[in-house]
């Protein structure tokens, strides 16, 4: 993939010009979603940062209490490393929210070590360096961008060697950690808008489908996550109804338990 920075250097004058003169053709006000048979299969899993950004707008969050930068154990099973890697990248976004430069730097090193453990260290080295440099300069936007690039590079490198399933586990690890922190924040200061951020049933179904296609990863933590997602689904798949405080608490218990399982040796 072509890095975004290359495009930043491209001429913008023409684009500004056409943005001013262009207009969108009239789109239908309604479409029949059920007739959409050509949906792209892969969804782009949102970054934890997307959820945290929305959460921030609901009120101030004490991000420091959610920062986690401990090294944790080293695993040899690649699926476990992939899950942990996703979790640690999510921890990077949390440390950025907390503007905790030492934690971000520790996480940068940890990401690199895990990427090496899974055989994609080479593609991560420049990003890990950029994360550490940007944290030193307290340039948080750059750290966020580099964390996104890190995750993307890891997944691209995995996909290139047909390790798509590991790539999906990286996304899942990040989503679980993001959901753990989201529910922890909303549980403490409940609001309907905060709880609504949990309304992600299609994303959950996407992960369920992907996990079902990984029978070769016969690990207790994978089975535990599969079972847990079945528990979580009815709590967040509520249609137009509101997600109550009890559901937020329950999802938090489940994701905290899974988070502990991901970072702890069996």
């Amino acid at each position: 993939m072509i890095p975004f920075t290359r495009h930043v250097k491209l001429s913008v004058g023409v684009l500004c010009g056409f943005a001013l003169c262009a207009s969108a053709a009239q789109a239908p006000q309604h479409i029949n979603i059920k007739q959409l048979t050509t949906t792209v299969e892969d969804v782009v899993v949102p970054l934890p940062n997307e959820i945290f950004g929305a959460l921030n707008k609901l009120g101030s969050v004490n991000w420091k209490q959610h920062v986690r930068s401990d090294k944790g154990p080293n695993f040899t099973e690649r699926p476990r490393i992939a899950l942990l890697l996703g979790t640690v990248i999510a921890d990077g976004f949390i440390a950025v929210q907390a503007e905790d430069a030492p934690a971000v730097k520790d996480i940068g090193q940890r990401v690199l070590a895990l990427a090496k453990g899974i055989g994609v260290g080479n593609s991560i080295t420049p990003h890990a360096k950029a994360i550490i440099d940007a944290a030193d300069k307290r340039n948080w936007d750059n750290v966020r961008q580099e964390l996104d690039r890190t995750q993307n590079s890891v997944q691209q490198a995995m996909n290139e060697v047909h390790d798509e399933k590991l790539s999906q586990l990286v996304s899942l690890g990040g989503w679980l950690r993001g959901t753990e922190v989201l529910t922890s924040v909303v549980k403490e200061h409940f609001s309907n808008d905060g709880a609504e951020l949990l309304h992600q049933p299609d994303l959950l179904s996407y992960f369920q489908t992907r996990l079902q296609a990984m029978p070769e990863f016969n690990l207790p933590i994978i089975r535990e996550i599969q079972d847990a997602l079945v528990e979580v689904k009815p709590l967040i798949d509520v249609g137009d109804r509101r997600i109550p405080p009890e559901s937020v608490k329950k999802v938090n218990e489940i994701t905290t338990r899974l988070g502990h399982g991901i970072v702890t040796r069996d």
Partner: protein, 149 residues
């Protein structure tokens, strides 16, 4: 010598043909992505974080593709669609899970670029419909990137 000249002539001709066909042969979704990112660039200055991840593929003229995406209430999103096919016309529109148009009115289309702006009224799944309206090519690469703030 005459034979050598013939071989040289044929090789050069083949190279010229290849050069002429180069955009069609070597164009890829990555090129389309480069254009989508070009369209996104001015918005970075407005504080939008553009995701590294993207969707892409190829479509024939008049074909559409739907992409499902989780959006969060409280965030603001732009979706940018691009193709490397100069004379193609593309469009992108965003609908909520009930099939109701969910975009703001400041979306735009200009030849091989298009963009849609969404400020979600609810957290949930949305459908981004990309379309190649017209194109001189049989199949037109497209790429969709998005940014949020």
């Amino acid at each position: 010598m005459k034979r050598f000249a013939k071989v040289m002539f044929r090789t050069s001709s083949l190279l010229l043909v290849l050069l002429a066909l180069q955009p069609a042969i070597f164009a890829s979704v990555d090129d389309a992505q480069a254009f989508a990112l070009q369209a996104a660039e001015p918005y970075v200055k407005q504080g939008f974080q553009v995701r590294e991840d993207y969707w892409g593929g190829d479509l024939g003229s008049g074909e559409k593709k739907a992409v499902r995406q989780q959006l969060f209430k409280g965030n603001e999103y732009w979706f940018w669609l691009g193709t490397e096919v100069d004379k193609a016309k593309v469009s992108v529109h965003v609908y909520d899970s009930d099939g109701k148009l969910a975009e703001e009115s400041d979306g735009w289309e200009k030849g091989h670029f298009a963009a849609a702006h969404v400020i979600p009224k609810a957290t949930g799944s949305y459908f981004i419909i990309v379309s190649v309206e017209e194109s001189p090519e049989d199949r037109t690469h497209w790429a969709l990137v998005y940014g949020f703030r």
